[in-house]
Every structure is written in structure tokens, then in C-alpha cells.
């Protein structure tokens, strides 16, 4: 990664530069443990990780809501701690928690948001109409937002983040809680934004699919640290070969599985999670019979086998040592 000692010296091609950011909350929770990354202007950068990984904390610091314990962060060439007012002028933020005023209409929400950025008169009216139109909210513009669906409210949130034509937009888990249709609608909107307005977007998400679809580059965050960074393709191609997932009838935790699998040539990266065994092989399909043979020889019963092309799920598994979908399930249960 590029090393920039002073965020203020950041070259123009970078809209966001984060250097060694640490945030320790009053209750001694270390939310960020030295995060560094840079985002090129006009691109979408994804921060991917489970809840509590430090994504929202990073966004809060970059949007001047929160102050870092140490480290530096610059947005559009300005240090966020030293020049918060100037940074606020050039950023828009869609927080994880919707900031829509539920007692006001869509139009009123957008208008007030513009007024807080000093916009007024016909310039503001036009911009509000334009955004309502763009997000398909024109018909609902004069309805109290309490009556909006989750998808509509989220679109209004994004529209509010854009009202003053910011250079950088922060989207903190924009599609969490949306149904699949609303989610893919919003994805289209976000893609169009980058094409039409040449805006830089920092997207945080815990959906692998979302990061894969939208982000030009992404960083996987785990426990306040970045574990790996690259383009989705780079990350996936680092994992040579296919992913093999074997579900056993009973869990085996005494190390036999690892030993057995390591005997089979061209099989590597064995990770065991309860009854699930994950491994990689250059040609998944041809390695499966050999794997099943060694398991059968030991009398270990197999419930199911899947072979898949590498996905971000596998990238996540490889770098954090635990499978992604488990994190998500736990979160849903909460």
C-alpha cells in the first residue's frame, strides 16, 4: 500500500487516505487497531466485514463525527481532525441508522438537508426535484416519510447524502434490512452515481455479494484490522483453484481430518468448523474422489460435498480463519 506520512500531502488521485487509525472507546474497547487504506477518486471502495469489525467506526471518524485515538485520516486532501468544517462541506454520509426525519415529508427532509449546507432558492428547489426524480420518489415527495417502505426510506437517505453534490459519499451498510428487490434497485442507483457524477464512494457492507458487485477495490476488516486488500478479482485469484466444502455426519476435531487431507496431493488450506471441512484444490472435481476415499477408509461418513469456483466468501475464510456466513447467521440471531 502507498505510504503517505501526512494526510494533507495526499495526491489528488486519492479522495480518502487513512493512516494507522486507532480508536479506543472510553470503555476500553479497541474498535480500530491500526487501519490504513487509500481510495482513488471516482471509485467505489468497499470495507467488508462482520458487525463490530470497525467499519462504522472508520466511517464515523472520516465523517468527523468521532475523533480517532491516534493515526491520521484525510478526505479530499483535508485532515479530518484539523479541518472538520471543510471536510463536512465536501462529504455526504448515509449512516447505518437512517437519519430521515420521520415526521417530515420526503421533500421537507431534502430541503432542510440542503439548507443546512447553505443552499437556497431555486437552486435548492431544482436539486430537490432532480433527486426525487432520480430515486423514483417524486410521487411520494409530499408524503410523511413514516409511511415510506424500507427501500424508499433508504433511497431518501442516499438522496439526502447527495443534495449538496459532495465529492465523497459514505454509505454505511446501505442495504442492510432491505428485501432483495429493494437491494438490487439500490445497487443500480449506486452504480449509476459513480458513472454520472464522478463521485468517490466508501461503502461498508457485510454482504459479500454487495462488495463483489459494487466495489472496485475492497478491504476485508476483522477485529479492527485490515486483513487483506485488493480488487475482488485479485483477491479471488489469489485463491488458486476451487473451493471444496465437505459436510461430515459427525464433527471430528482431533486432527485426523487435517492429517488425512494433507495426504491427498494438491489439496491445501484445510479449515475445519464443526462438521464442515473447507479445503482448496487446483481441480476440485478430480480431488473429490481421492478425499472421499481416505475418509471412507477411516470410516468417517460424509453428508454432502460441494465444489465451487472461488468466491469472496472463500477469501474471507482464508484470511480470517472463520467462515463468513456463520458471522452473518450469528448476527441475525442477535
Amino acid at each position: 500500500m502507498k505510504s503517505i506520512t501526512n494526510a494533507l500531502d495526499m495526491p489528488n488521485e486519492y479522495a480518502i487516505v487513512v493512516q494507522n487509525l486507532v480508536k479506543v472507546y472510553q470503555d476500553k474497547i479497541r474498535a480500530l487497531d491500526g487501519i490504513s487504506f487509500s481510495v482513488k477518486s471516482g471509485t467505489i471502495f468497499g470495507l467488508l466485514g462482520p458487525n463490530g469489525a470497525g467499519k462504522s467506526t472508520t466511517v464515523k471518524i472520516l465523517t468527523t463525527l468521532s475523533r480517532p485515538t491516534s493515526g491520521e485520516a484525510g478526505v479530499v486532501g483535508l485532515d479530518v481532525v484539523r479541518y472538520p468544517d471543510k471536510v463536512r462541506e465536501s462529504i455526504g454520509c448515509v449512516a447505518q441508522k437512517s437519519g430521515v426525519d420521520r415526521e417530515a415529508t420526503g421533500r421537507e427532509n431534502l430541503t432542510l438537508q440542503g439548507q443546512l449546507y447553505g443552499m437556497k432558492g431555486s437552486e435548492l428547489t431544482h436539486r430537490v426535484d432532480e433527486l426525487l426524480d432520480r430515486f423514483g420518489l417524486s410521487d411520494a415527495a409530499n408524503r410523511i416519510t413514516r409511511t415510506y417502505s424500507g427501500g424508499m426510506q433508504r433511497k431518501l437517505d442516499v438522496a439526502m447524502g447527495l443534495v449538496h453534490r459532495p465529492q465523497v459519499l459514505f454509505l454505511d451498510e446501505p442495504t442492510t434490512g432491505l428485501d432483495p428487490k429493494a437491494r438490487s434497485d439500490l445497487w443500480n442507483e449506486i452504480e449509476n452515481l459513480v458513472n454520472d457524477e464522478h463521485i468517490t464512494i466508501l461503502l461498508t457492507t457485510h454482504y459479500l455479494e454487495e462488495a463483489d458487485r459494487l466495489a472496485e477495490r475492497l478491504a476485508i476488516v476483522d477485529r479492527g484490522r485490515i486483513v487483506v486488500e485488493g480488487t475482488p478479482d485479485e483477491l479471488k485469484s489469489e485463491l488458486h483453484g476451487d473451493a471444496i466444502h465437505i459436510e461430515l455426519s459427525e464433527s471430528q476435531s482431533d486432527g485426523t481430518i487435517e492429517n488425512l487431507f494433507n495426504q491427498v496431493s494438491k489439496v491445501r488450506d484445510v479449515v475445519i468448523e464443526g462438521r464442515l471441512v473447507h479445503a482448496r484444490a487446483d481441480h476440485g472435481a478430480s480431488s473429490v474422489p481421492a478425499l472421499l476415499n481416505v475418509l471412507d477408509a477411516e470410516g468417517i461418513k460424509v453428508a454432502s460435498v460441494t465444489v465451487a469456483r472461488p468466491s469472496l466468501d472463500d477469501v474471507y475464510l482464508r484470511y480470517t480463519g472463520h467462515a463468513y456466513h456463520h458471522e452473518e447467521k450469528n448476527e441475525v440471531l442477535k
Partner: protein
């Protein structure tokens, strides 16, 4: 400064608009003081004949007390809106914009001020209808409303500060309940000073509600004592400054904790 005023204006408009969309809340806010006025006015009517009671009728005496009490109560709950904004993410959305930080508080105070004015005018008008006299004239009435607003601003600021520190609706409700009624009754709002027990009189001397009641009540009498009005008025102004300062401190502590 100019920006703060413009931003406060926008926030005030937002507050007023949201308030008007809750018609029941508006009706109750306006009806409650009327009930207090008629209820207490009827209940304690015979106080006027107690030896040592100076006012002509109890309603004359009671009206400024009800104006101040109503201002106290309607402003005592302004923190609830702040909690709602914090819970709904509206506060953080404001803080990400370049909005003047002070305007987030002053916008709310201004809206509360408007409510206090409307409420006071209605009470005074109704009291006049049922026979209250205001020999101090229009200036006296204006001073009464002004003292209700200054007390209201102080209590609003305190409520907002409390909300920013406690951040839980239940805690703010409990704290407000604990404070508001005793503040009302540890004053001369309902009873002339020379007729209340000594210890309450001492406590009242330190009670901003009593300062506001005395300022307003003295201002609407026939023989206004300017020194008395200015002394209590000055205490009120000092109080509102301290409360406003506390609110901004609480706001900073909220920002630090984000």
C-alpha cells in the same frame, strides 16, 4: 454568527412543523394550563379572604403563577425530542453537515419559546375573561411573558442537557417528574409569600420558578417596584446563561462519546 441564526431558523421551522403535525399534543399543551387556571382558581378562591392576603381576588394572584408553571412544564420535556433525534439517527445526520452546532440547541429553544408565548397569551386572555385584572398594563403583561420565556429557556436547556447525558427516555421522564412539581410548589406560585411556611419561603428564595413568578406578578400590579422586578429578572437571566452553558457542555460530551 449569521450562519448560526439562519441555521437556527431552519431548525426552528422543522421543530414547529413537526409539532403542528401532532395536533393532540398541541391541544393538550394548550388545554392543560386552562384546566390548572380554572381548577386552582375555583379550588382556592376563598384564599382571597384570608387575613394578610393583599391581592384583590385569587384569580388576579394566580394568573402569573399558572403562566410560569405552564412554561415550566412545557419546557421541562424538551429533552424528549433530543432523545428521539438521537435514537433515530437525525442528530448524527445533522452533525455530519456543516450546520452550526449551537443552532441544533438554539433552534429547539426558539421553538419552545414560541410555544411558551402562545400558551401564556392564551392563559392571560382566559384569565381576563374570568375576571382577572392587569393594572400593570400591556408592559406588565409583556414582562410576565418574558419572564416565562426566560425561565422556559433555562428549563429547556437543562432538559436538553439531561437528555444528552442520560440518553434514555425513561431516565429523562423520571428526572423531570422528580424536579418539576417540587419546583412549582416550593414557590409563591399559588400562595402569597407571607402566608407560606418559613422553610418553604427560604427554599423559594433559591428557586428560579419563584424568581420568575415574582418578576411577572410584580410587573402586572398597579404599583410596580422596578428594583424588585429588575433584581429577580437579573437572577433569571443569570440562570438562563448558566443553563445554556450546561447544555453546550452536555452537547460536547455527547459528541465526544460518539
Amino acid at each position: 454568527m449569521r450562519e448560526t441564526i439562519i441555521h437556527s431558523w431552519h431548525i426552528t421551522i422543522r421543530q414547529m412543523r413537526n409539532l403542528m403535525r401532532q395536533p393532540w399534543y398541541v391541544v393538550i399543551t394548550l388545554v392543560q394550563p386552562i384546566i390548572w387556571l380554572l381548577l386552582f382558581g375555583g379550588l382556592f378562591k376563598s384564599i382571597a379572604s384570608v387575613p394578610g392576603f393583599h391581592a384583590k381576588s385569587y384569580i388576579d394572584f394566580l394568573t402569573p403563577g399558572i403562566v410560569i408553571m405552564s412554561a415550566l412544564f412545557s419546557n421541562g420535556w424538551s429533552g424528549m425530542g433530543v432523545i428521539d433525534d438521537m435514537d433515530r439517527g437525525v442528530m448524527d445526520r445533522f452533525l455530519v453537515t456543516p450546520v452550526s452546532r449551537g443552532a441544533i440547541i438554539t433552534g429547539r429553544l426558539a421553538q419552545q419559546g414560541v410555544v411558551t408565548i402562545v400558551q401564556s397569551v392564551i392563559i392571560i386572555f382566559l384569565a381576563w375573561l374570568v375576571g382577572a385584572h392587569f393594572p400593570g398594563g400591556i408592559i406588565g403583561v409583556l414582562v410576565l411573558i418574558l419572564s416565562a420565556m426566560i425561565l422556559g429557556g433555562s428549563i429547556s436547556s437543562l432538559s436538553i442537557a439531561l437528555a444528552l447525558l442520560l440518553r434514555k427516555e425513561e431516565s429523562v421522564i423520571a428526572a423531570s417528574n422528580l424536579i418539576l412539581l417540587p419546583l412549582t410548589f416550593l414557590s409563591s406560585a399559588f400562595m402569597q409569600e407571607n402566608l407560606i411556611p418559613h422553610w418553604i419561603r427560604i427554599a423559594a428564595g433559591f428557586n428560579p420558578v419563584d424568581w420568575a413568578v415574582n418578576t411577572g406578578r410584580q410587573a402586572i400590579t398597579a404599583s410596580v417596584n422596578p428594583a424588585y422586578v429588575s433584581l429577580h429578572g437579573l437572577l433569571l437571566v443569570l440562570f438562563v446563561i448558566i443553563c445554556g452553558w450546561l447544555a453546550t457542555r452536555a452537547f460536547r460530551s455527547y459528541q465526544r462519546s460518539v
